[in-house]
Subunit: 150 residues, 2 copies
């Protein structure tokens, strides 16, 4: 049963990615870059490189690479973090904001999930939230994971 669910989730993800392929081409980005752009939520404080690495579950040097591309494309800029000159944060540019919006719009309208009614999506949300909720910390503290909050 869980196996079938994983297959379904994976198929879902695949269908969503396939559905927005033309948008990626249009924005001149690849999937990993889209992932990075997706994480740059304008409503949240600009993340540090390190935080991006955690969100994307990749090596910090990979973030350097991806950030370079996003800068070349004019979608993001690096800025020194206030108070710690070691740290750099990634800011969306206006173009980046627009690109991300197109990405999010395409994904949300074309994903198979969009075929569900509001009520169904609500139930789905409840189930997934419960699954992702702080879990198995059997005895002790909730234990800061440093990654999930992305």
């Amino acid at each position: 049963m869980t196996y079938q669910l994983l297959r379904l989730v994976h198929a879902m993800d695949g269908a969503t990615n396939a559905g927005i392929h033309d948008v990626l081409t249009d924005l001149k980005i690849t999937r990993p870059l889209a992932d990075a752009l997706w994480q740059l939520d304008p409503a949240a404080p600009a993340p540090s490189m390190r935080r991006m690495a955690a969100k994307l579950r990749c090596d910090p040097s990979t973030v350097t690479f991806l950030a370079d591309r996003l800068e070349q494309l004019g979608y993001a800029t690096r800025a020194a973090a206030p108070g710690d000159r070691r740290t750099k944060v990634l800011h969306l540019t206006a173009a980046g904001h627009a690109a991300r919006q197109r990405l999010v719009d395409a994904a949300t309208t074309r994903t198979p999930i969009a075929r569900l009614t509001d009520a169904e999506q609500s139930r789905l949300h409840a189930l997934l939230t419960r699954a992702m909720a702080a879990p198995a910390a059997a005895d002790g503290q909730p234990e800061r994971t440093s990654e999930d909050p992305g």
Copy 2:
């Protein structure tokens, strides 16, 4: 709302992948190879290279590359398809079967989905199945997609 769901699904996928990272290392495979192995369902007829490409949503030449690795690792073998010598099918070896089983076991036990009760998983299954069900073919036939059945 749909946006939040996509984030959740993505986070789910990420958590599952992160959870089985040690198994991948142990099996000496990477994520794309694990994806390929996952698709080689022993209960289904051995898929052709082309079919694998559709399932994995990648170029046929990429399947050549992945199949090479799986053969090198002793997890799969190519065999001529009966009746069409152009076509090659990918068979799991005994070792491949075992490796795939470890992969599936790890994924199904460690995915956040496993935290849900049977009833919840059942509801989740119903929702996802409905979302993925043959969709927008507004007027006509269900229309063979040639990819989804993976």
